[in-house]
């Protein structure tokens, strides 16, 4: 038992891998067995995360449950894990979403074993990013999450659709989407890689707590440039890498394809957690390591965030593909995250920063829930209708009232209806950003307006209006398994909307310590 308490984080981190390896030895034809085994396997990190949650001391500052083991001593990198309020929230999010996503994947029947194993490995990758306190380990887990996602999209993505490439070659849409996703992310993280190498060379360590102390106080000339210039270049390298992941406009172009072509569960995780990796990178790395540069360029970043909010909303509104609509909505919602980050960067040390950052982290959590929920619901409908085209739907509410109700609920959370979680986080971001980034915040209201517009459009096209005769008698109601997926999400959305304190309190403490 002691082992667990001392190595709780490692246990959480690697239990999905262990589960995946167990799955490796199960027979490939027993689909049901594999699905159930995978689901149970994914509940273990959830259980452990809950233990972590309850043992976490919200009043303490600094990192808790730290573990450090020698890893690559030759270059001064160690396997260093630890959590604070922010990462705890993210870990919890990941641990909650993964079992739900696996549950949502019970409909997959092609190569179930490979699918489930990839999913579990993916979970480890994501958890690793949130837990790591060593730059190199961070990078390792950051990159390694790409591989399972690539295959998930490529192999189990949407069956139809094609894209034409330069030179006339025609490839399936999912091939295009997965390749774009992988290469874009790797390309952007190249700068990250180089900057990390440079930090390692200059500081002689990759350990984050150490770097927080030593890196910020560096001075002198390096590589023929003044340290400030070096830091600026590194800042932008980090920023571009994370900006692509979040995604911030204009680095977002991979997202609509990837989200749309991914299988339902893949989209849930992609939107629910993977985007948060980028935002987390900003909070954990960019802001603490480059406070001056972040402050200096905060306006530019906020501008991009606002563009994301506005354009994301507009683009979303213009879609006829339901999934693509939700995909662009992610761009829109994550824009608020980045806006909050920019505001916090600009006003570090003030109350505004704290409020904005609180909003940011909460928005990350909330959007995770609502985006996962939305994608799931789109998937539910697709399973029945085999189309995502909004124009083909119409007035489905009477046919599937339970589903309809759930869809409305989730959409409202996504929209930011007061009483549900989305409102709280968006409000906090706006409140925190308003004093320092007034113009930007004002402009983002346009986006917010259109958020409402596209959500309502989605609901209207799907549920309201004249019933589309095609579907009468052919549409099954949402079933028990699907309910099992969405209900926890709904519960959380409601709970966070009415009483966010349980989560916000933990986040707040950490945020105050870091940015207050």
């Amino acid at each position: 038992m002691d082992f667990f308490t001392e190595h709780l984080l490692t246990a959480i981190l690697f239990s999905p891998v262990v589960a995946g390896l167990v799955l490796l030895f199960l027979p490939g034809e027993e689909k049901k067995l594999l699905r159930v085994a995978a689901f149970i396997g994914s509940l273990i990190p959830l259980a452990l995360s809950l233990i972590l949650w309850f043992r976490f001391d919200p009043t303490a500052t600094g990192f808790q449950f730290e573990e450090q083991a020698a890893w690559y001593e030759a270059i001064n990198s160690s396997f260093h894990l630890g959590v604070d309020g922010i990462s705890l929230a993210m870990i919890l999010l990941t641990a909650i979403l993964t079992p739900l996503a696996i549950l949502a994947s019970f409909g997959i029947s092609d190569r179930v074993k490979a699918y489930m194993i990839l999913f579990l490995f993916l979970e480890t990758g994501m958890l690793g990013v949130f837990m790591s306190l060593d730059l190199l380990i961070f990078f390792v887990f950051y990159e390694i999450g790409l591989v399972p996602m690539y295959f998930l999209i490529n192999q189990w993505g949407s069956a139809t659709g094609e894209r034409k490439l330069w030179g006339g070659m025609v490839v399936p849409a999912r091939t295009y989407a997965s390749f774009k996703f992988m290469v874009y992310t790797m390309g952007a993280s190249l700068g990250l890689l180089l900057a990390i190498q440079m930090i390692g060379v200059v500081s002689g360590t990759f350990d984050l707590p150490e770097l927080y102390r030593s890196w910020t106080s560096l001075s002198g000339t390096y590589f023929g440039l003044d340290i400030a210039q070096v830091k600026t270049i590194a800042f932008w390298a980090f920023t571009i890498a994370f900006a692509l992941k979040v995604p911030v406009w204009p680095f977002h172009t991979w997202l609509p394809d990837a989200h749309t072509e991914a299988p339902t569960a893949g989209s849930m995780i992609l939107a629910g957690v993977l985007l948060k990796l980028g935002a987390y990178g900003f909070i954990r790395l960019v802001l603490p390591l480059y406070p001056d540069q972040a402050k200096y360029f905060a306006g530019a970043i906020a501008f991009l965030a606002v563009m994301a909010i506005i354009f994301g909303a507009f683009a979303s509104y213009g879609q006829t593909d339901f999934k693509r609509l939700v995909a662009y909505s992610s761009v829109n919602h994550m824009g608020f995250v980045v806006l909050g980050i920019a505001a916090a960067a600009l006003s570090v040390g003030t109350e505004n920063a704290v409020i904005a950052m609180n909003g940011t982290v909460l928005q990350m959590f909330n959007h995770g829930l609502s985006a996962a929920g939305m994608f799931f619901l789109v998937g539910v409908l697709y399973d029945r209708t085999h189309t995502r085209d909004l124009t083909k739907y119409g007035g489905l509410f009477p046919l599937i009232p339970v589903y309809g109700g759930i869809l409305i609920f989730t959409s409202m959370a996504s929209l930011g209806l007061p009483g549900l979680n989305g409102f709280v986080s968006e409000f906090l971001v706006v409140r925190g950003a308003w004093p320092v980034l007034t113009l930007h915040t004002a402009l983002s209201m346009i986006g917010l307006l259109f958020t409402g517009a596209y959500i309502l459009k989605g609901i209207k096209s799907t549920l309201h209006g004249p019933v589309n005769k095609e579907w009468i008698g052919h549409l099954k109601e949402i079933d028990k398994r699907e309910l099992l997926v969405i209900v926890p999400l709904m519960a959380l959305m409601l709970w966070l909307g009415i009483w966010p304190g349980w989560l916000l309190g933990v986040i707040n403490h950490t945020v105050t310590a870091l940015f207050g």
Binding site: A70, I75, F141, E143, V183, M186, Q197
Partner: protein, 505 residues
């Protein structure tokens, strides 16, 4: 007299090969089993040596020295240190998996394994040699069996041309290095070929200025350094699978290692003078190799050029003249060796069944050959430098070494502006993305996607032996990626040795 384990490792393949020649040619199965036995035995011994090496003590261990031609100071002198122990292990691994992969050869398997083993002996000999004459002796032994192996069992279309080109290139390289080495022998005034004694010889800078390029470049030909890399892709493609595995996996490391051992360690001032040139050439290797690989349509050529690119990284690490760069180079030699053996094994299996290596013509192989697909993907991830695998563990320190190279304590001769090395590192990093793109392209096209109709029914699954080989190699790549401490401390202790010769740090 301690148990002469290194000599046994060196000579077991030779003895096995010669014994095999005495077996009647028709007893093919007995021949294969005997070959596998010898390979397994050698592998076990090399594992023993690897784990038996004590990094805390460092220096050369398992040393054996016998007079060979005492009148001229030639001795049979072997020993392992942190740098060559991983390479000895690598050779054992590649030899073992190579025999497994070659199980199906039915045209004179006896001669095939005999020549392959003679090649293996040469390779082992070079890695453990501590006497300069002995190093050359075994170096040449490692070159010539390649000719026969490629010319007889290679790909019919280009094998004769490739075999001759490869042999001549390598021979020319080794002969140039030999002239340099003989120069060292005479200039040292010590009358011995003992490399450890020669390390203290204090050659004049003028001598080193001409001897170093001869020795380093002569060996770097085998390492595939631009512009002497031409033999490599052609040779890779024409060779039979096991020979390609050896060639890319081990032989090219021979060149880099000998360049380090003889060039850099014995002529350190020469190294300091000439390394900027090597650095730029290695940079060309890395970037140019990756771009050329991207436009190939023959599967095997892609991997051949990718080898040129990755060996360039090894040279890159050496040329950075920094501790981390050296560590990375040492790791990359091992990691790339295993990875490329895996690649060629996989390619060979695909070709044996599909009878084509043209990427546009292949597709959907993963359905029938899932193990090949998965292990190839793992190899591909290593090649891209994906973290979590050994490729990242190797490439990361190399880049760090280049970043920090400008201020490395042993770089006393260079006068680069401080931004040059970082810029070089950044340019080299382009290759990572290029590598990723062509690797993903191949994986997608060859293993996934539609299988062309003509392959239906022809893509039979691989044998258990093949699976063992592939999984063995893939596991090593994963293990090393997760636990770099399995090899890094060893390489580090070897690097200490090298740094000492440069006078510090």
């Amino acid at each position: 007299m301690a148990f002469p384990i290194l000599s046994i490792i060196v000579f077991t393949p030779l003895a096995a090969g010669l014994l095999l020649l005495l077996v009647p040619g028709e007893k093919q199965n007995e021949i294969r089993v005997a070959a596998l036995g010898a390979a397994a035995f050698t592998l076990l011994l090399s594992i023993f040596v690897y784990f038996g090496y004590d990094e805390g003590v460092g220096g050369y261990q398992f040393v054996e020295k016998y007079g060979w031609l005492p009148q001229l100071g030639v001795s049979y002198y072997v020993g392992v240190d942190g740098l060559n122990a991983p390479l000895v292990l690598l050779t054992g691994i590649v030899m073992f998996t190579g025999v497994l992969i070659s199980w199906k050869i039915d045209d004179r398997p006896r001669e095939f394994f005999a020549f392959l083993f003679i090649l293996a002996t040469g390779v082992f000999g070079v890695f453990v040699a501590l006497d300069l004459f002995m190093l050359f002796f075994f170096y040449e032994i490692a070159v010539f069996p390649m000719y026969l192996l490629i010319a007889i069992w290679g790909w019919k279309v280009t094998r004769e041309y490739a075999a001759m080109k490869l042999t001549l290139y390598l021979f020319i390289g080794s002969v140039i290095a030999l002239v340099g080495a003989l120069g060292m022998y005479f200039a040292s005034g010590l009358g011995t070929f003992d490399m450890i004694a020669l390390e203290q010889a204090n050659f004049s800078p003028g001598f080193q200025a001409w001897a170093f390029p001869m020795v380093f470049m002569g060996f770097a030909v085998l390492g595939g350094l631009f512009p002497f890399h031409n033999w490599s892709p052609v040779g890779h493609v024409a060779a039979p699978t096991a020979v390609s595995m050896f060639h890319a996996g081990v032989l090219m490391k021979l060149g880099a290692f000998a360049a380090l051992r003889v060039g850099m360690m014995l002529l350190p001032q020469g190294a300091q003078m000439w390394m900027p040139v090597v650095l730029f050439l290695a940079l060309i290797n890395v970037v140019y190799g990756a771009f050329i690989a991207m436009v190939q349509t023959d599967f095997k050529y892609v991997i051949g050029y990718s080898s040129v690119s990755h060996m360039g990284l090894v040279m890159f690490g050496l040329a950075s003249m920094s501790r981390t760069g050296f560590v990375g180079a040492g790791m990359q030699m091992f990691s790339h060796g295993v990875m490329t053996a895996l690649f060629f094994a996989a390619v060979g299996m695909v070709y044996d069944r599909a009878h084509t290596r043209e990427i546009p013509k292949l597709g959907g192989i993963a359905k029938n050959l899932p193990v090949v697909a998965v292990t190839f993907i793992i190899g591909g991830l290593v090649s891209m430098g994906m973290p979590g695998f050994s490729g990242f563990v190797a490439e990361f320190p190399i880049f760090m070494g280049v970043w920090g190279g400008g201020s490395s304590p042993i770089n006393t001769n260079w006068n680069f502006a401080a931004w040059v090395m970082p810029l070089i590192a950044i340019i080299a990093a382009i290759s990572i993305v290029v590598t990723a793109s062509y690797i993903i392209r191949i994986i997608r096209k060859v293993f996934f996607g539609e299988m062309p109709a003509e392959f239906e029914g022809h893509i039979t699954s691989i044998s258990a032996l093949d699976k063992v080989a592939l999984i063995f190699l893939a596991t090593i790549l994963i293990l090393l990626g997760i636990f770099p401490s399995l090899m890094v401390p060893m390489v580090e202790s070897g690097v200490e040795n090298v740094l000492r010769l440069f006078g510090g740090a």
